[in-house]
């Protein structure tokens, strides 16, 4: 249970970092932390104490195996995270070219 709570704490750190930090590079790191927290949460959910890899074999049936479904989901989720992160990095690079700063307080051409 405490492991799940720690996952939530990690995710809260990521969201805090994305919303509150002024530096765009720190925001990118926050995105990474947030995604890792979710990935960790999924993996923990499928984990069994002393579990084995779920490979079906008729001779030696496995009694206790880890749940493979969350692992498969997380593979997808990691790839998606890579896409979003690289898009964000590209955006930040373009923003730096236009504004010459990473500070979110100075990036304010939009009103409202």
């Amino acid at each position: 249970m405490s492991l799940y709570l720690l996952c939530m704490v990690l995710m809260a750190v990521g969201i805090y970092c994305m919303l509150v930090k002024k530096n765009l590079v720190k925001k990118i790191i926050g995105l990474g932390i947030m995604e890792y927290a979710i990935n960790l949460f999924f993996i923990l959910m499928g984990y069994r104490q002393g579990g084995e890899a779920p490979i079906l074999d008729k001779q030696t049936p496995i009694a206790n195996f880890v749940d493979p479904l969350p692992q498969a989901l997380i593979l997808t989720s990691i790839v998606i995270g890579l896409g979003v992160t690289s898009l964000m990095v590209a955006l930040v690079v373009r923003i730096y070219e236009k504004y010459k700063t990473f500070d979110i307080n100075e990036i304010r051409k939009l009103k409202g």
């Binding site: 995710m11 990521g14 969201i15 994305m18 919303l19 765009l24 925001k27 995105l31 947030m34 995604e35 979710i38 949460f41 999924f42 959910m45 749940d67 479904l69 969350p70 989901l73 997808t76 989720s77 998606i80 896409g83 979003v84 898009l87 964000m88 955006l91 930040v92 373009r94 923003i95 236009k98 504004y99 990036i107 304010r108 051409k109 939009l110 409202g112």
Partner: protein, 492 residues
């Protein structure tokens, strides 16, 4: 037939960069061909679904274990909205996108967006839905920044930060549900939750779904990104964002999860109603003071989405019909208004209402179509917006929700005032000095706008056939609640 809704746009998104190496002009034609075939498929889907729910099992694995795609009346209605607006926006972009460099990239991203939206609509698997969310989101972030000017990049970053938080919260909610019921098939989750009954874990994941989808739909107080992101995109993309994206990834996904998976409770209904009322009022109040044409429209989107979620949140059959009907109507007139704003910007180079004047003589088609759309959004009879607002107001009275009904009427009046301002400054008042250089937008842009204006009038005149063929079956899907599971899984 079902996988073609995803395969066609995804295949085109792959082919367009290759074609653009050979000849840049062909990319637009290919994308339009894709849009047209999707539109034909979705019109066929509306009639096909009359004979019952259609299921496609990916890879032949049966639903509780494999991923399935399902077409019911609600999906069919959403697919029609997505592909109709998508095709018209693509037709409009054939001329409009000449302003920008590398149209090939625009069409690639647009086809990806269509693939994501169709996927979200058609899938029957919760994690699959999340994957299509992300495809939609990434395409949207990139398209908002398509102009790569300082303000567009800033808007896109804002959208990306809030959008990815929303995606993470949705994924966490999916994870919690997966941990509880050990399945990802939407129908199977619904069936398992019915057996176990609601507990705190389900309540927590419902809350996360609410926040995630409300962020995506731009409901107040989660609307901060919307008025920046929607005006910054190229006009056809703004039309897609306001007309379709916030509805499919926000409203459709929310009501699907709330009604068909978790089961609609009194508390969820209260939250929907109050989110709707607050969005309606705050959105329209913020819209009055705007002088940027597209920004004003974006604030009106917040307000009109409030009507939709209010109507659906009432939970009565009439309220749901009104909400869904308003969703379809709003996608017609709001995308028309964004296309109008795009052609005004194309012709004059500005979006500021106080710098425009007397366009009605120079741009007759744009001015007439925008008049139709403005009256429609303000709810003037007999245009389509009037009927859906009327149904929502009647439903609110029937449900004894006086505050909501009064808010609907008041917001409708303020909307009318706000659009009279647009008409007055941009189109009606004559210019002080004659500006003769302004020409009407190119022919394909005017054609796309005319079709949308025609549809606004047509839907307004044939209300009952439209409601009976498209909206009412969709509302019945929502009303059946978790009985949806039985249709998908059958006896299994």
């Amino acid at each position: 037939m079902l996988p073609f809704f995803v395969i066609i746009p995804l295949g085109c998104a792959f082919l367009i960069p290759l074609v653009s190496k050979v000849k840049e002009e062909w990319t637009g034609l290919l994308a339009n061909l894709c849009g047209l075939s999707l539109l034909a498929l979705s019109i066929k889907g509306i009639f096909w679904v009359k004979t019952g729910v259609k299921i496609y099992t990916v890879g032949g694995w049966l639903p509780p274990f494999g991923i399935c795609m399902a077409l019911d009346a609600l999906n069919a209605c959403m697919l029609l909205v997505v592909n109709l607006i998508g095709f018209l926006a693509l037709m409009y972009s054939l001329d409009y996108i000449k302003k920008y460099t590398s149209p090939g990239l625009f069409y690639t991203l647009f086809c990806l967006l269509l693939a994501g939206l169709n996927g979200v609509s058609v899938t029957g698997d919760l994690f699959n839905m999340f994957v299509f969310f992300e495809i939609t989101s990434i395409a949207c972030f990139a398209l908002v920044a398509f102009g790569t000017e300082a303000q567009e990049l800033e808007a896109s970053l804002k959208y990306l930060v809030l959008g990815s938080i929303a995606d993470t919260l949705i994924l966490l909610a999916i994870g919690l549900l997966l941990g509880k019921v050990s399945t990802l098939n939407m129908a199977d989750i619904a069936r398992s939750l019915k057996v176990t009954g609601p507990d705190n874990l389900v309540l927590y994941s419902t809350g996360l779904f609410f926040v995630g989808f409300a962020l995506k739909a731009g409901l107040v107080p989660f609307h901060a990104w919307l008025p920046d992101a929607h005006p910054s995109a190229p006009a056809p993309m703004s039309a897609m964002l306001s007309g379709v994206v916030i509805k499919v990834v926000g409203i459709y996904a929310l009501v699907r999860v709330l009604f068909n998976i978790i089961g609609f409770s009194a508390m969820a209904s209260e939250i929907c109603i109050w989110l709707g009322i607050i969005s309606m009022i705050v959105g329209v109040l913020l819209a009055i003071g705007q002088w940027d044409f597209k920004r004003l429209l974006a604030y009106h989107s917040v307000s009109q989405i409030g009507y939709v979620i209010f109507g659906i949140g009432l939970g009565t059959p009439l309220g749901i019909i009104g909400g869904l009907f308003h969703l379809c109507n709003h996608s017609l007139f709001k995308s028309l208004l964004f296309l109008n704003a795009g052609s005004v910007e194309y012709a004059t180079g500005t979006r500021r209402l106080d710098e425009l004047s007397g366009l009605s003589s120079q741009m007759p088609v744009t001015s007439k179509t925008s008049l139709v759309a403005s009256l429609s959004i303000a709810g003037v009879p007999p245009l389509c917006g009037f009927w859906s607002k009327l149904i929502i107001i009647v439903a609110a009275f029937q449900a004894h929700h006086l505050a909501g009904a009064v808010a609907c009427i008041a917001v409708g009046m303020v909307t009318l005032a706000s659009f009279l301002k647009v008409q007055k400054y941009a189109f009606i008042v004559k210019a002080k000095e004659a500006v003769s250089v302004i020409k009407e937008a190119p022919v394909l842009m005017t054609l796309a706008m005319s079709i949308l204006a025609f549809l606004c009038i047509l839907v307004g005149l044939c209300v009952f056939p439209v409601i009976n063929t498209v909206i009412k079956p969709a509302a019945e899907v929502l009303l059946s609640g978790t009985g949806y599971a039985g249709w998908i899984l059958g006896g299994r």
